[in-house]
Symmetry: C2
């Protein structure tokens, strides 16, 4: 485990603090076969994720990680490297999620995030929505997953 | 656990078999506090998900489930109630995911799915994309999560 990326800036705690264009990188996420199989047995029990023998004969040649496992590990990394201090990250939703490449045992992933929008709410003046574009690449610099995440953030009290 | 919804139809194994408008319901998904905390400790370790005392003083009053846990449990239910037989469900992506309501200990969720599109690929004539609109409601019939899932499906070999 490496330490979180040093951002050398105070945490952005309020919508008013958000700097559109701010980008940061997560920690390396190492994928191993046992963890891929363990997650999938609980949440995505398909042969391509849980059965190395079946997977060896299948279209990918190895087990591949459930896309939901990748998403969950990226969420943990997000909590661990958040530029928002100890602010709770309340996800409102996601857009344009693509699982564009198989994730295999031995892969190491990195998530890169960029704040692409910070918009006050029209109906609730005390809060707003921050959108963060997330791109997850593997050790070959291929994008394995991407999405845009919307989180809720409050405005600084007057 | 109830049995999967009886669809009284042969599984749709190929893109050519897909019936747009076909809808099915999953099994009840019971949420309990221990499982909410266990998942979040691994993948979304924020006080609102893992610390009942902190959560009691927070905006929700109880721990709430990580949205990623709800998504993962809905994936398991999808595998268990698939109308596609033993076909592997290869997710290409998601659109318009919204976590619209907190999920709490004691909640029981149900996923309803409807096939909204089946489209052959322009570049790869042996396959196509099937889109499935997923709506997850709680015991009060409030929608807690929704998204549109795109999966890859092959055409029937000639």
């Amino acid at each position: 485990m490496t330490e979180p990326t040093e951002t050398a800036r105070p945490p952005m705690r309020w919508l008013d603090d958000i700097e559109v264009g701010f980008a940061w990188e997560g920690r390396p996420i190492a994928m191993d076969e046992a963890a891929i199989i363990a997650f999938a047995k609980l949440y995505d029990p398909q042969p391509m994720h849980i059965d190395p023998e079946a997977a060896a004969k299948g279209r990918f040649g190895t087990v591949i990680a459930s896309g939901w496992q990748v998403a969950a590990l990226v969420m943990r990394d997000y909590v661990e490297t958040s530029p928002f201090g100890d602010l709770e990250l309340l996800g409102l939703g996601l857009d344009d999620l693509a699982w564009s490449e198989a994730v295999r045992p031995g892969d190491t992933l990195v998530a890169r995030r960029e704040i692409v929008e910070a918009r006050p709410s029209r109906s609730k003046p005390d809060r707003g929505v921050v959108r963060i574009a997330v791109t997850v690449t593997n050790q070959h610099d291929r994008t394995v997953m991407r999405y845009v995440n919307a989180i809720q953030m409050f405005r600084k009290p007057e």
